[in-house]
């Protein structure tokens, strides 16, 4: 572990050196072992926030929620961290010309890496990022790439649009003609928010991919513990968030199971 820095209320940027991941697709995650002891017992999944293949430098952006993240934020620089990954299916990058990234809360974590990679691939990329207050958002100039525009929203209006990021998305899509908004929406955040994003995208007939969360044990598809109901050809199937996901076609995900 190289460094750990607060970026927003209860949020930290963790940099880990010397991690050999090979090629990473945005949306993929790493599975971290937090302690050698057994409480907390399981590894914890975190989306790749950025990865520098040359310097083998991995960054994660995480929010303190419970035991494991409470321990992570107290680690001493220099402590070894056991990293498995990259795992799971990432976002689809091909065939996109104009991308809209919609992140709620800590859901912005994978979107930074996605934004940078899309922009590097020449995709016109815009990010909508929301939090409760400006304290819950990273610095205004914290960007995935200089050419990625970020529109901020806060529920109390303390930065940018006043309202939820979904409300901002709706306005954005209404105000701008489809050709200028997006031919693909990517989203990550709380499940209730994702459900709204998918509905909104569908109303506008824009394809949408979402990154889901679940409690993980193995992280590689072996334990069948992390499933989420998804509409498949054969009917409703329980697909593994760690293996078939965490990124799914938003229109196939069943949100109100």
């Amino acid at each position: 572990m190289k460094s750990i820095d607060p970026t927003a209320r209860d949020c930290y940027l963790l940099e880990i050196e010397g991690v050999e991941l090979g090629p990473v697709i945005p949306g993929q995650f790493v599975h971290l072992r937090v302690l050698p002891a057994t409480d907390p017992f399981l590894r914890r999944p975190f989306s790749v926030h950025s990865y520098d293949t040359g310097n083998r430098l991995l960054s994660l952006l995480f929010q303190e929620r419970g035991k494991a993240t409470g321990i992570l934020k107290e680690l001493k620089p220099g402590t070894a961290i056991d990293v498995m990954g990259p795992l799971g299916n990432g976002f689809t990058l091909n065939g996109v010309a104009r991308a809209l990234l919609v992140g709620g809360g800590i859901g912005i974590a994978p979107l930074y890496y996605l934004g940078r990679r899309l922009r590097e691939a020449g995709v016109e990329t815009r990010m909508l990022a929301g939090g409760a207050t400006s304290l819950d958002l990273p610095a205004e100039n914290y960007k995935p790439h200089p050419e990625v525009q970020i529109l901020w929203s806060t529920e109390d209006g303390s930065r940018g649009y006043r309202g939820t990021v979904v409300a901002m998305l709706k306005e954005h899509l209404l105000k701008n003609p489809r050709e200028e908004t997006a031919d693909m929406i990517y989203s990550c955040g709380p499940t209730a928010m994702l459900s709204e994003v998918v509905k909104t995208a569908s109303n506008h007939r824009i394809p949408v991919e979402v990154s889901l969360e679940a409690v993980f044990a193995c992280g590689v598809g072996a334990c069948l513990g992390c499933v989420h109901p998804v509409n498949a050809r054969e009917g409703t199937r329980y697909l593994r968030v760690c293996k078939e996901g965490p990124v799914f076609n938003g229109k196939e995900v069943i949100f109100d199971a």
Partner: protein, 305 residues
Amino acid sequence: MPDPVISVKIGDLQMKNPVMTASGCYGYGEEYQDIVPLEAWGAVVVKGTTCAPREGNPPPRLVETPSGLINSVGLHNPGIETVIERELPRLGEKGVPVVVNLAGESEEEYIYLARRLEERAEVEAVELNISCPNVKKGGIAFGSDAVSAGKLVAKVRENFSRTLLVKLTPNVGNLPEIAGAVEKAGADALSLINTLRAMVIDIHAQKPVLPAGTGGLSGPAIKPVALRAVWEVTASVNVPVVGMGGIFTPEDAIEFILAGANAVAVGSAIFVNPRIPAEIVEGINSYMKQKGYENIGEMVGAARQ
């Protein structure tokens, strides 16, 4: 000094080392392939397999507890035919013995499953799961009573000629009695233990975290209970025992062997440390050298003298 001999034979199941996967924690052996080679294991026990495909229980299916994990997967599996067509041929090529864990809802289903596998040479052994706490019908009902467990095992025995393991539940007051009945009915070996029935409540939502209410507790939290089960059963039973439940370190595995287990299986710990089979093999090797054992058989039950 030559390397100690750590190969083990359970019935006709010949393993190069005594470390097996616990059913349900290693899928069908494919998922971990990139991280740690299948060949590290003495044998691979695949996910509990049923007659028809099952989608399993609704999520959430997992909840972490102090040093443990509760699961309520509910035997999510593609069914015996798909396992035979798609998984076994691939697994059969690895040179690692394959054990199929079988779960039925009735005597007939168990017999059918055993018969289907009797025909498949890739399968060295089956493990009868009469101890799954996560399905409504069958399973644990057979495993909670000595008479019905014995009857079921005898029936399956008539229909399966290779190695027959029977996996027991610790959620009973008379484990040695059930183990004795299963031995008498013709089991070649016993697998001890399946998970402990357990639950967690979400105090905000005011309902059990798992939609099924209860699930099965595994992991280091249950190791002392599992070890006691092995200790107690091996005092009165003569067939080999595969010890499992919370093994997390090489020392844990050695404890099970000293308690009387002929082999061990690792479940939940794989999720945390996929490299565990090689570490356990290494740990057993150096323990044996230190204690002067030449063959692992000498170690089995050594804590009882």
